[in-house]
């Protein structure tokens, strides 16, 4: 189907030799965005590593009291920067369209992450911002914001598991070798980390709680490795790409 579908005439004409400016513009969003992501979620908002789900209500109020300013700074900046994530979805999906794989998986990649951005990232910010907005709120409602924020952040499993799964399968099926096979194995391992996070909805203590050794630490450490690998692999893919290459939409 790749060969049969004619490209848009305007696009295919006179493209050879032009540098891939739009791809590089998108790629350069990658390293600063994930650096910022780390700064926001680790030292500023204290979502990673997450505080304990077993905290009594009074201590949850104290948590928001102690970190209110950095939570507000971190999540306000996230609200400005979050669109960078969409740019990166587009960039990876575009590289997937260069594969010898039906467009289904590239489109799925965009769709799953466009959904996942809300429950898996932004909802945590809304909940924490609501908690810090009124420190004198009923403590039980502050605890509700705490649970809403952390459970949505740590527990939005399916959106990301689907994305990791189809990304891995696409790499396995691709004969153009846009991405190396080892990236697919890391992506499969990411599916496993989403699976082991299932008990966060049930346990408030121990290794399976949202701050537990298995549910969180393994997943977070691996996520960092995964993102670093993805950034490098996308860079390599763009470097190898010929400017005149025809890529179906």
């Amino acid at each position: 189907m790749t060969a049969a579908s004619p490209a848009v005439p305007a696009v295919s004409a006179g493209r050879g030799g032009r540098r891939l400016l739009d791809l590089w513009a998108c790629w350069w969003v990658f390293p600063p965005f994930y650096t910022l992501f780390g700064i926001i979620f680790v030292p500023l908002t204290r979502v990673m590593p997450p505080p304990s789900p077993a905290k009594p209500t009074a201590q949850i109020v104290l948590f928001f009291h102690a970190h209110a300013l950095t939570i507000q700074i971190g999540f306000s900046v996230l609200m400005l920067a979050i669109g960078a994530g969409s740019v990166l979805n587009g960039l990876v999906a575009y590289q997937m369209r260069r594969m010898t794989v039906d467009p289904v998986f590239a489109y799925t990649y965009i769709a799953t992450l466009a959904v996942g951005a809300i429950p898996g990232c932004l909802f945590c910010a809304f909940s924490f911002l609501a908690a810090t907005f009124r420190p004198d709120r009923d403590p039980h409602l502050i605890a509700l914001c705490y649970d809403l924020g952390l459970l949505t952040f740590v527990g939005s499993l399916g959106c990301f598991a689907t994305q990791y799964l189809i990304f891995a399968i696409a790499i396995f099926l691709d004969r153009n070798k846009i991405f190396p096979t080892w990236l697919a194995y890391i992506s499969i391992w990411q599916v496993v980390t989403e699976l082991v996070a299932i008990p966060v909805f049930i346990f408030t203590g121990g290794p399976f709680a949202w701050n537990g050794a298995i549910s969180f630490w393994e997943g977070t450490a691996l996520f960092g490795v995964y993102i670093a690998c993805l950034i490098m692999c996308v860079r390599k893919a763009i470097e190898r790409q010929q400017p005149g290459e025809r890529v179906p939409g």
Binding site: V11, A114, F126, A130
Partner: protein, 248 residues
């Protein structure tokens, strides 16, 4: 009647309905101050329940009806002579996430209005979540405008799909909405969610944006149809197949 023209008509009709719904929402004119007490917030929902239903159920039903219009922009981005189509994909992703946020904010308002006899503290929390979700996550809009602006700049052909000034216009609107990201921090002043910047500038800039983009996109679609008709007249047999193949 092409799908693009249908989408433009939908945008015109539902855009006007949405604007009317926003004008009717009692919480917008004037925008609810963040420093109301829980009891005042609860009293607001009890007093204006019918109007909140009317306006927010309308928003619920009509807001996503603008989606086809934004998909016309995605399609027009794919027609641009950019090095690749990556920016159209990025725009699509940002549009979907952004649309989800308005749907979510609308639901918070409707849930808050559902039981006026609820604990006022709970109603206040729902109201806070509605305003925060409605006001602060501007990053998705900024990503839409930035990717569209870059695509227009890179559209390397004698007659670009969108005129060049549209790129500058997109950046200007992105700058106008950006400060609202800090609305969940301030209770008063221009950056508070009812403030001159976070409410008036952001809402007016976005309404103007949709209105201007409607005519820009309509111009591009009309020209595309015109070019397709001319091509059809020149080569009647191959043109039909070509028109189908435009969107793989």
């Amino acid at each position: 009647m092409s799908a693009q023209l249908v989408s433009l008509w939908m945008a015109a009709v539902f855009g006007v309905i949405l604007l009317a719904a926003f004008l009717l929402f009692p919480g917008f004119f004037p925008p609810m101050p963040p420093d109301l007490t829980a009891e005042q917030v609860a009293a607001f929902y009890a007093q204006h329940q019918a109007m909140i239903w009317l306006s927010m159920i309308t928003v619920n039903f009509c807001a996503i009806m603008l989606m086809p219009f934004f998909m016309v922009i995605v399609y027009q981005m794919k027609r641009m002579a950019t090095p690749t189509q990556v920016l159209a994909y990025a725009y699509l992703s940002a549009t979907v996430s952004g649309a989800t946020l308005i749907a979510l904010a609308d639901l918070f308002w409707l849930v808050a209005a559902f039981r006026p006899d609820r604990d006022p503290q709970v109603t206040q929390l729902l109201n806070d979540l509605a305003w925060i979700t409605f006001t602060v996550p501007v990053g998705m809009i900024i990503a839409q405008m930035a990717t569209l602006a870059l695509a227009i700049r890179l559209d390397d052909q004698p007659r670009p799909v969108f005129p060049r000034w549209v790129a500058a216009f997109n950046i200007a609107v992105a700058v106008a909405v950006a400060p609202s990201a800090f609305a969940a921090v301030f209770h008063t002043g221009p950056l508070a969610w009812n403030g001159a910047v976070s409410f008036w500038l952001r809402v007016c800039a976005y309404v103007l944006y949709v209105a201007v983009m409607f005519f820009v996109v309509r111009g591009a679609v009309r020209r595309q149809h015109q070019e397709e008709r001319e091509q059809e007249e020149r080569t009647p047999l191959t043109a039909a197949a070509g028109a189908e193949g435009v969107a793989p």
